[in-house]
């Protein structure tokens, strides 16, 4: 390839990188921010339920949870429980009751729903791949965005001239140059992580976004596919005949004896029916592969129906890809690396969105479309983090026992972000940026300080607040080196 062709390729890649990033940049920003926070999903849940401090043996806790659910759910098709572990003391229960899908954290001793009713970290987790949109649209949009992300990453890498040098390049306060340096450093430093997390993210939604391999071999017989793919997942049609659920604690102890490790998740299908099935998954805390082994019991008699340990190479590959994305295996240090990598990707997206405008503004006056984009960028990129902070603050401020409290927390987050977007549209960016950043800093600080005691989470919130406050200071000072640039251009 001649140098001219190489340069041409780079320009095309840069062009594609810009447009792909622009089109779904906001969606990707939400996904990356929420995904980054989801790394600490259990810890966020713990922080959001300070009243619930009891601990219990996982088997006893799940027993208490199923007792409570038997009394407090109606016409459920399934209870999907996560047993307590060393990161979370509650039993997380997702279940349907009277046709509504509910999520509750249950006290490990009494089995009752935590008094501070909240989705906890589950909100960020769901937002990450469902974008608060109805099924399947949220997941489809997330899949599309992930495909764009992969293209953006590859084109970004090809468009790059000097990957290695950019590790060490940052020229601050130089307008477009600085934004580009920042964007490059953020993108380049953790490139392997960005590629891994985007690809494995696509894998998690593959049955929805790329089902054609399944279609080619199974036609429309999806039930058969799932039966082949996850043979350990025993499903039975409900009989309509009522029967009480047998005690689950002995089943869990038997499962732990057979599978080793600790109990991860417990699925109770058709609870209260004669065809009830209890499936126990081994915890993923000590292995990368996701859902590698499980054991099923007849829910009424308590007799084992079958044990499954995944040994098929291809399926294990899939489980490992899935597990790499979920990061349940990650010990504390690795979890922080996931968090850092995710934060860098989030910031790379945000700086990329800003760069689109900065680049065009330095060349010529902005077109109307780009002026609108500049304002909405401030509203969105400033507003979504503010919404997240407002969610945490609402958790501290809304009174306990309020009807629909968990939903109110979520509405607070969404309306705050929406209000920020309106504010961004109305105010010039030099006003809206510092305003929204300062509001986010304030919300983080208040959330950390209201309802002490202090924890790692409050320390993290205070650190965030402090860094945002420093950012506000920078934003208020504005670009400083402008005149110097002009002089040089004139010379």
């Amino acid at each position: 390839m001649s140098a001219a062709v190489r340069e041409g390729v780079r320009q095309v890649m840069a062009w594609l990188h810009g447009w792909v990033g622009l089109l779904l940049g906001w969606v990707l920003f939400v996904m990356c921010l929420a995904g980054t926070l989801s790394v600490f999903k259990p810890e966020i849940g713990q922080w959001m339920r300070p009243e619930t401090v009891a601990t219990a043996d996982p088997a006893d806790a799940v027993q208490a949870a199923t007792d409570w659910l038997a009394r407090n759910s109606k016409g459920s098709t399934g209870w999907y429980l996560t047993a307590p572990n060393d990161r979370s003391n509650t039993v997380e229960a997702a279940y349907d009751s009277d046709g509504a899908f509910l999520y509750r954290a249950l006290d490990p001793v009494s089995g009752t729903a935590a008094p501070r009713e909240t989705l906890g970290g589950e909100f960020f987790y769901r937002l990450h791949f469902e974008l608060d949109l109805p099924y399947p649209w949220g997941r489809l949009l997330a899949s599309l965005a992930a495909m764009f992300m992969l293209v953006a990453l590859v084109t970004g890498i090809i468009a790059h001239r000097r990957i290695f040098k950019d590790y060490f390049t940052f020229r601050p306060a130089k307008g477009q140059r600085s934004w580009l340096d920042g964007h490059n450093a953020l993108g380049v430093l953790a490139t392997p992580f960005h590629l891994m997390i985007t690809f494995t993210g696509l894998v998690t939604l593959a049955s929805l976004s790329m089902p054609w391999g399944i279609t080619a071999l199974y036609g429309s017989d999806l039930a058969k596919f799932y039966q082949d793919f996850t043979p350990g997942f025993t499903q039975r049609a409900p009989t309509g005949e009522k029967a009480a659920l047998a005690p689950v604690a002995p089943m869990l102890r038997e499962a732990q004896r057979q599978l080793g490790g600790t109990i991860g998740r417990v699925y109770v299908l058709n609870p209260g029916d004669k065809a009830a099935v209890v499936t126990v998954y081994r915890s993923d805390a000590d292995q990368i592969g996701f859902n590698q082994s499980q054991i099923s019991f007849d829910g009424v008699t308590g007799k084992p129906l079958g044990t499954w340990r995944e040994t098929r190479g291809a399926i294990q590959t899939y489980n490992v890809a899935y597990g790499l994305h979920m990061a349940r295996f990650a010990p504390l240090a690795t979890r922080w690396l996931y968090f850092l990598g995710g934060a860098m990707l989030t910031l790379a997206i945000a700086t990329g969105m800003v760069l689109w405008i900065v680049k065009r503004r330095e060349r010529a006056p902005l077109s109307l479309g780009n002026r609108i984009l500049e304002r909405l960028n401030a509203g969105f990129l400033g507003g979504v983090p503010l919404g997240c902070a407002a969610y945490l603050l609402a958790n501290r401020l809304l009174p306990l026992g309020l009807n629909g409290r968990a939903e109110l927390e979520v509405s607070t987050a969404l309306w705050t972000a929406a209000a920020a977007l309106v504010l961004g549209a109305m105010l010039p960016p030099r006003r809206s940026w510092p305003l929204l950043t300062a509001a986010t800093a304030l919300a983080c600080a208040l959330a950390a300080l209201i309802g002490l005691p202090l924890s790692v989470m409050s320390a993290a919130l205070l650190t965030t607040a402090a860094s945002l406050a420093m950012l506000v200071q920078k934003q208020l000072r504005g670009p400083t080196k402008r005149p110097e640039r002009k002089r040089r251009a004139a010379a």
Binding site: E7, G8, V9, Q11, V12, M13, W15, L16, M147, L150, V151, V154, T155, I158, F199, L202, V203, A206, M210, W212, G213, I214, T215, A216, L217, Y218, G219, F225, D228, F229, R312, G313, A314, I315, T317, Y318, A321
Partner: protein, 100 residues
Amino acid sequence: MAGAAQQRAGWRYRANVAARVVAGTIGAYAVAALFAMALARILPMDRAQAVVPATLLAFLVGPAVTIWAFLARGPWRAWAGVILLGALFAAIAWAVGAPA
């Protein structure tokens, strides 16, 4: 496309970009989907397992086609590539046929 700043507003440039956009999005997804179908059917593994490499690799084929659609020397070539690749994978999937 590169270095075409002077004719950016012209309809030729716009049609060129539009053609590549369709080839690089819908076309790329179609190629990836057909690739997944073809590979799933030719892999000598049991059904449940064959799905995995077929699907995982399809996620890499998609972006490759997208990028190629914009690098090809002209929009016609971009489209010809997408159609040829798609036809090839479709033919393989069809020739092997669904498992009994």
